[in-house]
Structures are given as structure tokens and as C-alpha cells.
Amino acid sequence: MPKDSGIGASSKRREDVRFLTGAGNYTDDINVHGQAYVHFLRSDIAHGRITNIDTSAAEGMPGVVKVFTGKDFEGVGGMPCGWEVTDRHGAPMQEPPHPILAQGKVRHVGDPIAAVVADSLEQARDAAEAIEVDIEELSAVLDMKAAAQEGATLIHEDLKNNICYDWHLGEEDNNKVNEVFANAAHVTTLDLINNRLVANPMEPRVAVAEYSRGTDEYTLYTTSQNPHVIRLLMCAFVLGLPEHKVRVVAPDVGGGFGTKIFHYAEEAFCTFAAKACNRPVKWTASRSEAFMSDAQGRDHVSTIELALDADNNFTGLRTNTYANLGAYLSTFSSSVPTWLHGTLMAGNYKTPVIQVNVKAMFTNTVPVDAYRGAGRPEATYQLERVIDKAARELGVDPIALRRQNFITQFPYDTPVALTYDTGDYNGTMDKLEAAADLAGFAARRAQSEANGKLRGLGVNCYIEACGIAPSNIVGMLGARAGLYDAATVRVNATGSISVMVGAHSHGQGHETAFPQVVADMIGIDESMVEIVHGDTSKIPFGMGTYGSRSLAVCGSAMVKATEKVIDKAKKIAAHLLEASETDIELKDGQFSVAGTDKSVAWGDVTLTAYVPHNFPLEVEPGLEETAFYDPANFTFPAGAYACEVEVDPETGQVSIEKFTAADDFGNIVNPMIVDGQVHGGIGQGIGQALLENCAYDENGQLLSASFMDYAMPRADDLPFYAVDHSSQTPCTHNPLGVKGCGEAGAIGSPPAVVNAVLDALNSGGRAVDHIDMPMSPSRVWTAMHG
């Protein structure tokens, strides 16, 4: 029987009531009395030297409060990078300055050159048009391999080349790797591109900043997944403000997908300008601005080689990747192609020797950073594509080849620095084979062929590493932040509970799922528990939401804090019941003395905590506890996905006929929300596989700069999904045994779709090794007729 409340229940998402009835409170809904509006003048040239900026005409335009250029920010910090990667020679990555407004050069289309603050947005735009900017155009650096060549045009003149770092994992095994490949019975090689994506959350970025002269305090409302991280970075590295004078609020946020993790120049600008203008300042990105200023995702060019012995055991893996970082280092960009990508190359397989090389490149494009999955989709795509190709080359069943090489003993130390605590890859694959009715595929293929369509089946596995941790290890790897989280459980006198959490909910359903945990632990109704998040003046210092970490990390802090609350409440109950604390049991919201019928209700104990007339003298009044939680390890969700497609041989159009996901997320708090997270992730993965393509022309102009050319998946592009998460190996090191589910769909689905299309094409008697994503009708047709 499914539970109807608490852990394991599909409680309906309480936050959806306000979202679906237009009662949400998004940053753009916030208007401060007297606010002025910002318009950024952005470069329409990808690479050039600014020879002159004349703002005098603009300054005299109606309504203009102030015009800012890069000069106004000399002496102010630039946008920081939160992860220092050490290259293969032991040197730190090259870290160029990233000013709030361009200083001397523009480096991508959309790079902000100047900003106008005016009484109205239209006045700000009018004035921006009156700013005269002279730019000496330089050749745009776009191709990563060309950018790495000696003598390539430098994007940052103060760096020695365009390579941010040349990073290696497993280099010490060089001889061993060479030997494995030399002795291999079979080697499969694949060149592939992981296409650049634009996250495109429904809500564009917005910042509203105000400054109080009276108290010297700032408030920044901003579209962020992690308000404390923004406050720390902006105060400590950019503006040099004391943190206690700055409040950062991320109210309802309309989708993040990674791109709202980062600290952006616009929000720092608004905070700076609010004081400089002595007026509240508001900026709302247009969709066009989002396309040229939100950090983008993926953009890897890779070559992967898989070595197998005569029995088809994987004996070695070697990959070389060029990772595009764009024109500047975004906040966590350097970590994505390295510690979130190279370390995942073992996948679900016991390949003994793995070597990863990543060259991270600066180009004249919008910065690239984490996007749903962040590194792990790129790793999964490489690995699962090369395995599929190997199976085809060897003429073996792709599922059998995977099963044969699965890791089956846990904990398992991979050759690429991770320790998987638990998993059951064969068990999960069993669930997939049943849920996807793989036995019935041949009949479905015959039916499709009778209708003139080619049908293909693609299967793949994935492993991801969520809840990146622990802080001491990531610190050694270059992280400039800790990766714990925090929660405060504040019990009110009448027994209701406010939980202040460091995680931020922007679609994940924390406001529903987190109370399920606390209510379950105490045995009270979920409606008595409320989550407070997104405001640095209300919540403890938490690191926010990304990397599928919220429940595993912040949820664990919440459990620890709730345990402290329960321990203290038991002391009070023991006093009221005149019993020993060790004899007190808590069940269904009642404290009772073991083996007796004496009990006292939760509400009576909480009231006593705040009206402590009859109270144990050695205990402090009140009932509020905080816990910080730093995980011992990553969590390792894993799964197996199956996709069936039909390809129209006349047009190359791909339609997804069936999509099945079998995931092992460990224990599950709210199965309905988990289904929804997987659905959303698969939707984005299918978007990457079939539709989405962020493309630049040879001059660095963004070709896909609007929804007219950037294809977002629509409802009718997507199938109904079958999602099975009954394969559950609980995480061994966090109190809930949870692993995280937010990114799985986006990680696991692209190779399933691509494998399916290639299976369809090869079934049609053609030999097509690979098609790069997105597999648009045009690309599929060209591959069929190439």
C-alpha cells in the first residue's frame, strides 16, 4: 500500500497552488519605491578592442540617472571563479580577469560595455542608443582546436595562450594504458561533439537592489539557486562589502537548471549602482539578453577509445576532450569538465585502466558552466556511445556487453578517483528490461516497418555523482567553497515547525518533500511543517541547490537538526512524565514512557518549551536547533534507460515512440516528485539529443539567438514516459539513504536516444556509425544519404 503521508507518500506539491494560480512572488514581481531601471549596452561584436566610449550625449538624455562604463569599476573586483583546477604539470589554471563592465576589450557578443540607469526602461534604452562606442574588431576565436594552436589570436592578452588548463587524470598509468591498447583484441574509437545548450529557464534573470543610507545596508533580490553563495562571492571578491550589511533574497525562482547558480555581473552591478545612484535599481533580462548572457552548457569535442580483450571485457579507456569555457571563467565552469566529468568515466563498468585528458579553452563565446548534469552527461554520452559502437562492431548484444562489464562488488574504487558506495546495476537493468518490454521490441519493429518507418532501440546505463563532497576533499581538488549544507528546525510554541534551509527550491518541490521528512520523524501532520528558504536574513548559511544535492545534503542537515529537537523534547517530556529520559519513546506525535500508558502529546511538550513553568532546570527553554552537514562522500544514483524511435526514411524525422527509465535513487521521500524530476530531466535530454543547438557563425554571431532558431522541446516532441524506481540500494552514508534524482533524466537520456536512432538506421541496411546531436531531420537524412 502506498503511504498517504510522511516519507514514501506522493504528497501533492503544496507550492504548486501558488504557482498555478498566479500567486507566486518572482523577482520581477518585486518593485521598490523609487526604483530606477538598468539597460546594458552589449557588444554586437565577438572580439574587439574598445578604442573609445563617449557617453556624454547619453548622460543628457531625458530621465537618465547615471551612465556607467568599465572605468567606473576600476579598482572594483571582477567576477570570481570558485574552483581552481591544477593542470597536468602542477600549475594553476590560467585565470583571466572578468570585469563587471568591459575594460579595454569585448570578448563575446553580449559582453556588457556600458549600463544606463534611468527613470524608465525605455529612457534607459534610448540613452544606450546614444552612447558612441568605437571598437577595433579582432578575429573571433571559435574553433577550440584552432584556439589551442601556437600563434592563435589571444582572447586574453595577459595569458600565455587560450588554454585555461590542460588537465589529466590517470597520466601516471601512461605505460599501462599504452600496453592495454597495444594488447587489445579490439579497440573502438569514436569522435563526438556534446552540443552547446542554452538553459532557458522560463523566468529570465532579474536583479533588484536597494541601499539604505541610514543603515548602510544593501538588499539584493535576485534569481538565484544559492543566495548565500552569491552574497559571499559578491561581498568578498567583487564589491568588498561586509556580509552582515548585505541581504540577498532569492524569492520564487522560475527554473534554474544550473544557470542560476553563478554569480553574474548584472547582479553585482545593480548592488553597486544602488549606492552610486542612491536609488533602488532594477534589471530584468529580455529573452534575447538571456541567450547572450546566461552561462551556457556542455560544448565538448571528444575522442574516446575503448579497448576490449578477446572475451569482450573492457580492458582500458582513453578519452581526449576539448571543453569550451567561453570568453570568461564563469563561477564553477572550471570544475565541470574535470572533477564532474573525468571522474565519471568509469560509468557502471569495471574498466581497470582509464585515462582522461581535458583541454579547457577560451573562445569568443558566452561563458559555459554547469547545466543540468554538468559534466556527468558529457561523460555518460561518451562512454555509452562508444560501448554501443563497440557492440555493433563486435556483433554482440549491447545489453549483454554492458552486463558482462558491470561493477558488481561494492564499495568499488574506480580508477578515476571515486568510491561508489552501493548499487545494483544488474538489478536495475532487470527492471528496465521488464518495464520497457524489450522482449516485445521485434514485433514493434515489424509493425513500424509495415508502416514504412525504421524502428530502433537504444539502451544505455548511467552513473552520476551527486551531493558533491566532502568539503575537505573538494578543497584539495581546488574548490574555493565548502559543500556542506545547513538547516534550522524552529518549533513554535503550539507545535508547528518552521524549517530554515540552505537549499533553494526553484521547481524541485522542497516545500512539499522536506516537511514529509520532519513530520514523519515526529509523527505529526505534514501541514504543521513549513520550509523557509531563499533569504540570507532568515536561513543559516547553506550552499544552495545544484548537483542533485538538496535532499542528500541539506535534507541530512534537516534530519540532524530534527534529531536534536527530538532529543531535547524527550528531556522535557521525561520531566513532564516524571520518567527517565532514556525510557521516553516518540511515536505518532506522542511521547510515552516505555511499557506504560503514560504519555504526553507533541503540542504539550512544545508549549512547555516556550512556557517553561513546569520545566527541567538543567534544560534551556525554547525548542530550536541548527545542524550543518558535510557528507562523507558523493552519492551515486545509477540507472538504465531504453528509448525506441521511429525514423521516417524519406525525411529523416525522428519520433520517440517509447521511453523507459529505471533508476536507483536509493530511498525515496516522494515518488510523485521523483517521477516529475525524471520526466523533466528526460525532456531536457531529448531536447539535447534531437532539437537544441546553440550555434555561432564564423564571426562569433549567435545564430540561434531566439526561439525562432533555438529549438526548445515542446510537449508534442516528447513521449509518455515509463519511470521505474523500484530498484533501490540506499546510500550508505547519509541518514535518509537518499541519492538525488534531479539530473538523472538529463544525464541518462541523450545516449539512449542517439543509440536508438543509430539502431534504426543500421536496421535499414545502412551503416551509420554516428550522428552528432541534435539529430535534426536534416542531419539524419544527410547521414542516411551521405
Binding site: E122, R125, E129, S288, E650, T651, G652, Q653, L690, L691, N693, A695, L703, S704, F707, M708, D709, Y710, A711, M712, S776, P777, S778, W781, T782
Partner: protein
């Protein structure tokens, strides 16, 4: 957007008068023009909305059996009201954009704009329709003059479009995946006097008639008649969404499907 004057007259005569000023521009449903203004890519001094003109609204069947559509009629209304009198045209209208676009966008606005990937130009040219303006009547063959270019004079308003109703017709649209405009759209209409095949989305010269296909189908209205017929890719559009060769190929496939649908 920049500031502009706005007028919403209730008669064609008032609209023509209002459009007499310098840089005045007619506004239909605004599905292209308003985004253009918001991007500050156009700066008309005055917008003259034609959506308040009653005589430019609606679909009716004329005495000669042709279907007349008022220039300010929305796509949604054509999709609903022409469903019996000219089903293929109604089906075309029902495939334009999304419900929001179909409830605002108008036939006159679309045809006057002549976007090379819009659906209506194919329907109008494929049907051999007559474009009626405040001053004259023009055959579709004379009206479309290349990408975003028509025979309309400054200040001239499309008041209605008259469609002769063919024996059979079909619009086959292959979607550009992002915009869902036509990557290639083929409108085929079979009249007693012959077959017309109009192609949108494909050519750098905008909507065009594929005369070789028409000739072949006039001789033999079967898909076999199209075998071996190929459009020269040279003047086709090649972009992010499809090469010239791919578009040329799609013209053949969509034409074949239109024939199958009419058979």
C-alpha cells in the same frame, strides 16, 4: 519599442486616410510587427490597426462558389469557418503557429509580410487566389515578388482574399523544429483546369510555383508522375535547420504526400 501614434479606424476609408502620413504602417494581428518593434528594429511614426474594421472580418462563400476571407480575419477563424467551404485552407490556417498566434495573427498581415517560410503565401499562390485591396485586385501570381516583397503599394490595404475552391487540395508542411514555420511547405490544388503546386519555406526567392511538377501532374495525377523530378538546390535556403539539398529533397517528398492526400 519607440513611441508611435496609434489609430484604430472602423472603416477602410478611414484606415487608408490614416495610412497617408509619413512612416505610418498598417497593423494586423501584430505577430511579426510587434516583436519587431519590441526589438527596436522598426520605428513607424504611426500604427493603424485594421482589426476594428468589420467589413474586413470573416469568411464567406461568394455567388461564384469562391471563398472570400476578410483581410483582418484571424487564422483561428479561418481554421473554424472555412472548414466546410475550403477544408485544405482551413487545415493550413490551423497549422500556423500556436493558439495564441492563431487567435491574433491575420491572413492579410501574413500575406502582406510574405515571410519566405510563412504558410499562407503557399495557400494563396497554390489556390490561384485573388488579392483584393482598397484600390485593385491582383492575381496571386503577380502579387508575390520575392522574400518579404509584394506588389502592394505604400498605404495599400489587403481588404480580402478570394479563393477559387479546387476539386481537391492539400497542404503538406514540414516543420522547422524551432520556429515551427515551414522548413518546406507544399500547397497543392487540383482544379478542373489544372494542378497548381506552390512551395514555401524552401526558396531564397520566397514562395514559388513548381511548374515542372504541375506539368507532370497535369498529364498524370499520380505520385509516379513525380519520379525523377528534382528541384535545383541552388536557389534553396540553406541554414542551421537544413541544407539547400535537404530542402530541395523535402519539396519532392512533400509534393508526393500532397498528391497522395488528394488522391
Amino acid at each position: 519599442m519607440y513611441n508611435f501614434e496609434f489609430e484604430k479606424p472602423s472603416t477602410i476609408a478611414d484606415a487608408v486616410a490614416a495610412l497617408g502620413g509619413e512612416d505610418a504602417q498598417a497593423l494586423g494581428g501584430g505577430q511579426t510587427l510587434i516583436p519587431t518593434l519590441k526589438q527596436r528594429l522598426a520605428a513607424p511614426s504611426k500604427l493603424v490597426s485594421v482589426s476594428g474594421i468589420a467589413e474586413m472580418q470573416g469568411v464567406c462563400v461568394e455567388d461564384d462558389g469562391s471563398v472570400a476571407v476578410g483581410g483582418a480575419t484571424t487564422h483561428a477563424r479561418v481554421a473554424a469557418d472555412a472548414a466546410r467551404s475550403y477544408p485544405a485552407l482551413a487545415a493550413l490556417a490551423g497549422q500556423i503557429g500556436d493558439p495564441a498566434v492563431r487567435n491574433r495573427g491575420t491572413i492579410g498581415g501574413s500575406v502582406a509580410n510574405n515571410d519566405p517560410a510563412a504558410c499562407y503565401p503557399a495557400g494563396v499562390l497554390g489556390s490561384g487566389a485573388t488579392i483584393v485591396t482598397n484600390t485593385r485586385q491582383m492575381a496571386a501570381d503577380d502579387f508575390f515578388q520575392g522574400m518579404f516583397t509584394t506588389a502592394l503599394d505604400e498605404g495599400e490595404i489587403i481588404t480580402s482574399i478570394r479563393f477559387p475552391v479546387p476539386q481537391a487540395a492539400s497542404y503538406q508542411k514540414f516543420l522547422q523544429p524551432a520556429s515551427r514555420f515551414a522548413l518546406v511547405g507544399v500547397y497543392l490544388a487540383r482544379f478542373a483546369g489544372g494542378v497548381r503546386v506552390a512551395v514555401t519555406g524552401a526558396s531564397e526567392d520566397g514562395v514559388f510555383r513548381w511548374s515542372e511538377a504541375e506539368e507532370a501532374l497535369n498529364k498524370d495525377f499520380r505520385t509516379d508522375a513525380l519520379m525523377g523530378l528534382r528541384i535545383n538546390p541552388m536557389n534553396m535556403i540553406g541554414d542551421l535547420h537544413g541544407s539547400k539539398e535537404y530542402r530541395a529533397h523535402l519539396v519532392s517528398v512533400m509534393t508526393k504526400r500532397a498528391v497522395e492526400s488528394c488522391a
